[in-house]
């Protein structure tokens, strides 16, 4: 179980490997990608600001809560911060479990909680030259 903030591109291979376990029949994953629009407005790129100390603490709490709340074997999450281009992976969540019901439910729950609770903020740069800090 682990939650991390990174300044670099996310390489999911090692993160997924760490979840492999012969007791597990199911693995669910989510990736958040930087997309080229928001509410119909063309987006050129993003910058993520973060309160790293609080984010790692709060992210760790979310992962621990997920382990307690769902019948899963392991769960991990990594969130990228700094500048991101369209198509970049901004966040990854992976969950392994004996059965798929719990893997899906936990994966969904984790990303929802991360987006609600972890102190990371997105600044979108628009095609019209404007830029804006999103507040969910």
């Amino acid at each position: 179980m682990q939650f991390r903030i990174t300044q670099s591109a996310i390489d999911t291979t090692a993160w997924r490997e760490a979840l492999c376990d012969s007791r597990c029949g199911a693995y669910a994953a989510f990736e958040g990608w930087v997309r080229d629009h928001h509410d119909g407005r063309p987006v050129l790129g993003l910058h993520y600001d973060c309160y790293a100390e609080l984010a790692e603490h709060e992210g760790g709490c979310i992962m621990a809560e997920a382990m307690a709340r769902f019948e899963i074997v392991d769960a991990r999450c990594i969130h990228r911060i700094g500048d991101c281009r369209i198509g970049d992976m901004a966040v990854w969540v992976g969950v392994s479990a004996a059965h798929r019901e719990a893997a899906f439910a936990a994966c969904r729950w984790i990303i929802d909680e991360v987006k609600t609770r972890v102190p990371i903020w997105k600044r979108e740069r628009y095609a019209d030259g404007d830029a804006l800090w999103r507040e969910a």
């Binding site: 600001d49 973060c50 609080l54 901004a90 102190p119 990371i120 903020w121 507040e135 969910a136």
Partner: protein, 78 residues
Amino acid sequence: MSVTVLYFAGLREAAGLGEEQLDRPESLPALYATLRERHGFTHGQNQLRVACNGVFCDWQRVPADGDVIAFIPPVSGG
């Protein structure tokens, strides 16, 4: 006799700085009210959460010397 206040995202942009040292305030709401006026923050207190020393805390928490305080606008990660 002082606290450190950290700013992120829109609050950092509005304040024009990432952190500052201030005399220890009476309360967190009083601190935010002062800073809001000084920096022209548009957020009401009820739109923000507050963290102390790297952990979310209650607005009722009494600030202590050396506390690192951050006001947290609605997050938008993911």
